[in-house]
């Protein structure tokens, strides 16, 4: 069939399409389209446009919209056209409307009437068009308007209509289950429809229904099985065959449904074993569709009650998938492996090498799928290798979405399976380093808690070892010269570093306070634009000096550090100012006072907060008796009262030392009843106050504190406690999942500590340690290992090999190249020589060469003679860049493969030209002009390599 002019479009439209095809840049295309929009806008408003002309305008609008421009001015005309009597116009109208409008568009309401009328039409084609539109356009509100008619159509005599009606109902069900809930039985009924198409269509809604409610469809198991049997035995009409497979799409849907129904149901599954087994045996694994069915079989086997026989059969299929050179099949193999791994862990073991190959593959999709599989089979014995790989991969990609995903996976796995704290800290460092800007801040909080908490209790020595290790590693990180660039985005990491250095930096005495504080200052400087980081750093500094004072050492604050604090004290940020003032006050305090403000190592004590502040009750009582006004909660106050309250308090505070701070807290506190400030408490009850006021801080968010008070020691103390607890606390109250997974017994921990240094570099050594550790600890881990890979010794072995293979890059590369080279010839033989360059060679040269010739083709076809000279010279220039501006060009050559078919005489000229180009451009890669191409074409024909008429070669490669 001719491609041009065959359908009565005007020359104008053809020219438009052609000129779009010839554009070289997006801006040029946009210009043409904008001009086109202007033209249509003008024309469409003219009175008495013939409908035929209008139809073309609308098609042109579809084209405009398809290219990403707004054609909303013409929507109404499309709606009108859908109302037309003539089916041709009506169909165009519907097409345009379905493409233009979303279901929430205002114009929908106008089209509902048309649809209602058309659903009643006695012409089934009209009904079909209307149903197509219904699926796209009807929204929840308008469903009732068309529902009765759609239900009626379920009994229509034409199977095409019944089928569409079923699918329309399914669509309604997806949009709003409640509107069609009383009609669900119709889906069941239609399962026994005479027409296979209708039956097939009813499987989609049934699948959805069964997903939600398995129980009420158990009775259909036998029916589904018998349908599947009949389909597999080729009982359906021949027209449903697809590449020698009997109705594969229906088979696939049935297998999906059976998988759902057989899940965990031994009886139902028992009925399926035979038919599924038969399918696996009979499936033609050489065709793509055959493999699709096989994949679905495995999926089904993996989800129904396990049968050893079927599992064996599937294992064979998986082996075939994985060994295949086709990447699609490998991908599917990895996918099903992931599904089967829970059922039979040893399947994965058999295919270790294949899995490793996929992991090393250049194909990103395959790699990601493999990571998914690894994620599923991770356990404590192989977590190091897997995480190592994941992080390596994470660093190499730019895809933001996937980076987040893989980073969270890494965190999840390492929290769950970390063999040692040291490894965990190192891993976290790496994750933060490469994905610090995207990981959840909670991860950082967890890490801080872990370091602070240690093993929780008696094992002080191990704890302090862990801490000093953390300090050391962070100092290392901070010292690295490339710090600013690598960690520039890693706020979370910097926070952890500051906190750990502040809390534990000087604890083991390895590093002097001045060294650490120097580093902290560097950090604060490096992040001069970020207040949060500065706040962390300054608090850490305060802590370090406080500990120094506590331990009786002489403070030695360098002038530049002093100046940092001066600068911050004048900062615009209230928070930073506050911290700077706190610092200034703390360093001038006595040792014992500092000690009670900043007790060492209380970072993980639980704090009980009683937000009703009962210790103030007596004071409140007293004040009320003395005539003070009762506290009014903030939300009940009007603005004026609020202000007067505050000003009152402020004036009062100014007379009393340290009152001011508490007053602010008071005004803000959302607690239901709060008294004005206690003066006495602050000075006398030094210890309880911090906790209470910490709660206040919790309630009010930090930066919202309106101003800085000239604060005394108690306040400082409060503030610092608050900071500590703020990080740690949320996790204290709820026992976090990671802590149970991560904490091994102390004995094992010590051995791990020793080997910690070699952890990252020599993972295999580490396995021994781990193995030892494993025996002693964590029965849950052992269980997990057993469930994944059999017994633990075995698992160690496997991971060992896994690791070896993964290291031997050269080996696998050799292998892959080998296999590649072996595939190539095999494929080539299957494919007739002509299309070969198009199908396999996407090199630029082809395009360019084709471009040269095809310019002429357009010249002939469209009569664009004047373009000739310009085009050909330009196309020469294109050869190098090959940006492929000649869009129409490859068409002639590439797509058109079976030029030998006998076209009707009217179109033969057209075809001839096409054929010429297909030959010419393919054969004459360097042919500069048409003449050369023709000569080559003739040559090819003489040699007799012509594509067959029956089966277009275009499709041959697809099935191979």
């Amino acid at each position: 069939m001719g491609s041009q002019g065959g359908f009565g479009q005007s020359k104008e439209f053809l020219d438009l399409v052609k000129s779009i095809g010839e554009t070289r840049s997006k801006s040029e295309e946009d210009r043409i389209i904008l001009r086109e929009i202007e033209t249509i806008k003008r024309r469409i408003l003219e009175p008495d446009i013939p409908r035929r002309k209008m139809k073309e305008y609308i098609i042109r609008l579809v084209y405009v919209e398809m290219l990403g421009h707004d054609a909303s001015f013409g929507y109404i005309h499309a709606v009108k056209m859908a109302h037309d009597e003539n089916l041709l116009h009506k169909r165009t109208g519907y097409l345009a409307v379905t493409l233009f409008l979303n279901e929430d568009h205002d114009l929908i309401i106008l089209i509902v009437n048309t649809i209602q009328k058309d659903l009643k039409s006695d012409n089934y084609l009209v009904v079909c068009s209307a149903l197509n539109a219904v699926c796209r356009l009807i929204n929840e509100e308008t469903i009732p308007a068309v529902l009765p008619q759609v239900v009626e159509l379920l009994g229509h005599q034409k199977e095409a209509v019944r089928k569409k009606a079923i699918m329309t109902l399914h669509r309604f069900y997806q949009k709003s289950p409640s509107t069609v809930s009383h009609l669900i039985s119709n889906f069941r009924k239609k399962l026994s429809d005479n027409d296979p198409g209708v039956m097939g269509a009813s499987l989609y809604p049934l699948f959805d229904l069964i997903t939600i409610d398995i129980k009420s469809y158990k009775d259909l198991v036998a029916s589904f099985i018998s349908i599947l049997k009949q389909v597999a035995e080729c009982r359906l009409p021949k027209s449903y065959d697809y590449h020698q497979m009997p109705a594969p799409f229906i088979q696939i849907k049935l297998l999906k449904i059976l998988g759902l129904l057989g899940n965990g149901d031994k009886h139902a599954s028992g009925q399926m074993y035979n038919v599924v087994g038969d399918l696996i045996r009979k499936c033609d694994a050489s065709s793509n569709i055959g493999n699709a069915v096989l994949y679905e079989c495995i999926y089904c086997v993996a989800s129904i009650y396990p049968s050893t026989k079927l599992l064996e059969a599937t294992a064979e299929v998986i082996a075939k998938f994985l060994k295949n050179d086709n990447h699609n099949l490998k991908y599917m193999g990895i996918d099903v492996l992931g599904r089967l791994i829970k059922l039979s862990p040893d399947v994965a073991e058999q295919h270790q090498l294949a899995v490793i190959d996929c992991l090393e593959d250049l194909d990103d999709t395959l790699k990601r799928k493999t990571f998914e599989l690894l994620h599923k089979m991770t356990k404590s014995s192989n977590v190091e290798v897997i995480i190592d790989r994941m992080i390596d991969y994470m660093t190499s990609i730019n895809d933001f979405h996937y980076k987040i995903e893989i980073a969270s996976r890494c965190v999840e796995l390492s929290e769950q399976f970390a063999p040692s704290y040291h490894w965990f800290i190192l891993t976290m460092n790496r994750i933060f380093e490469h994905a610090g800007d995207i990981v959840d801040i909670k991860v950082a909080h967890n890490l801080m808690r872990l370091i602070a908490k240690g093993f929780g209790g008696d094992h002080e020595s191990a704890d302090s070892q862990l801490r000093s290790y953390a300090v050391e590693s962070y100092l290392h990180v901070v010292t690295e010269p490339k710090l600013p660039s690598a960690f520039l985005q890693a706020w979370a990491m910097i926070e952890v570093i500051c906190w750990v250095l502040g809390q534990f930096g000087t604890a083991d005495g390895n590093y002097s306070a001045s060294y650490i504080s120097g580093k902290l200052r560097d950090v604060a400087e490096a992040y001069s634009s970020d207040e949060t980081v500065k706040a962390y750093a300054i608090t850490a500094l305060t802590k370090i000096y406080a500990f120094e004072i506590t331990s009786g050492r002489k403070l030695d604050i360098l002038p530049e550090r002093q100046s940092l604090f001066e600068e911050l004290a004048a900062s615009r940020s209230a928070d930073l100012q506050q911290r700077a003032y706190e610092f200034r006050t703390v360093v001038h305090l006595e040792a014992h006072a500092v000690k009670s403000i900043m007790p060492f190592d209380v970072s993980c004590e639980d704090i009980e907060v009683d937000i009703t502040l009962p210790f103030l009750n007596s004071y409140v009582q007293q004040s009320l008796q003395n005539g003070a006004q009762p506290y009014i909660p903030e939300e009940q106050r009007s603005g004026t009262i609020d202000i007067s309250n505050i000003s009152n308090q402020v004036s009062r505070e100014s007379s009393m030392h340290a009152l001011k701070f508490e007053a602010y807290e008071l005004a803000k506190l959302p607690a239901p009843s709060r008294p004005p400030l206690p003066v006495s408490n602050i000075s006398t009850e030094l210890v309880p106050v911090p906790e209470q006021s910490y709660s206040i801080r919790e309630a009010n968010t930090y930066p919202s504190i309106p101003s800085v008070s000239t604060s005394g020691p108690p306040e400082l103390k409060l503030r610092l406690e608050g900071i500590q607890k703020k990080w740690g606390r949320p996790s204290y109250s709820s026992s976090p999942p990671s802590s149970s997974g991560v904490s091994p017994s102390p004995a094992s921990e010590i051995s791990q500590v020793e080997s910690a240094a070699s952890l990252s570099s020599r993972p295999q050594d580490n396995y021994k340690d781990l193995k030892k550790a494993e025996v002693e600890i964590a029965p849950e881990k052992q269980k997990l290992a057993a469930s994944l890979f059999g017994d633990s010794s075995k698992s160690n072995k496997t991971t060992g090999t896994r690791h070896n293979t993964s290291r031997s890059d050269t080996l696998s590369i050799d292998k892959s190249t080998g296999s590649r080279s072996s595939v190539a010839p095999a494929v080539e033989t299957k494919i007739p020589p002509q299309p070969l360059p198009d199908l396999f060679d996407i090199s630029d040269q082809t395009v360019a060469a084709v471009a040269t010739t095809s310019v002429d083709s357009f010249m002939q076809l469209g009569g664009l003679l004047d373009h000739n000279g310009r085009c050909s010279s330009q196309s020469d220039a294109v050869i190098d860049s090959s940006v492929g501006s000649h869009d129409n060009v490859p068409l002639y050559s590439d797509l058109h493969v079976s030029g030998q078919s006998d076209p009707p005489s009217a179109k033969s000229k057209d075809n001839d030209i096409k054929r010429t180009f297909s030959r010419g451009s393919i054969e004459a890669m360097k042919g500069p002009n048409l003449k050369d191409a023709l000569v080559k074409d003739a040559l090819v024909r003489q040699m007799g390599v012509n594509p067959t008429t029956q089966n277009p070669n275009l499709f041959k490669d697809l099935l191979g």
Binding site: I289, P890, V897, L954
Partner: protein, 161 residues
């Protein structure tokens, strides 16, 4: 479920788009740009699936034209690959050895065929014969209508030249 169907040429030009899930015009442009960048750069021997924003996009190249379909995570990718092929075969049967040019000038026809094949994001008709019959039925009516209109269109064509 299929969320959308996208046909783009090797140069990234859009040949056909069909959206089964709601996307605004802005999102559509963005999706197309993202996906063409992702798919057109992939090598020839890699697998025909890409992960994209939590979905899978199955694509296949036919000569210079890429057919892409976006599906859910748990759909059968190989099946979708065959749905694409099924569509191409149906197009081929209709146009008679289809080439990109056929789709460029008759994109509305390609839409009609797609509408008979997929409905509401699911495969509606697995039989090529039946699809062909339906389309032919529609066309025969169209042909009749065209006879009447032909004379008018000729006049118009003359007038607008």
């Amino acid at each position: 479920m299929i969320h959308f169907v996208l046909l783009v040429s090797r140069q990234g030009k859009v040949r056909l788009t069909k959206w089964y899930s709601p996307y605004s015009q802005k999102e559509r442009t963005k999706v197309i740009r993202e996906l063409t960048g992702l798919i057109l750069t992939r090598g020839p021997k890699l697998c025909n699936f890409v992960e994209w924003r939590g979905y899978r996009v199955v694509y296949k190249r036919y000569a210079s034209l890429y057919f892409c379909m976006c599906i859910d995570q748990d759909d059968n990718e190989l099946e979708v690959l065959e749905i694409i092929h099924h569509y191409v075969e149906t197009l081929d049967r209709y146009f008679g050895s289809v080439c990109e040019l056929d789709l460029i000038f008759n994109f509305h026809k390609a839409y009609y065929i797609l509408d008979e094949l997929l409905l509401a994001g699911e495969l509606q008709e697995p039989s090529k014969k039946i699809v062909a019959r339906l389309i032919a039925g529609q066309d025969s009516l169209v042909e009749a209508a065209k006879e009447e209109a032909n004379s008018i269109s000729n006049i118009i064509a003359q007038a607008t030249k």
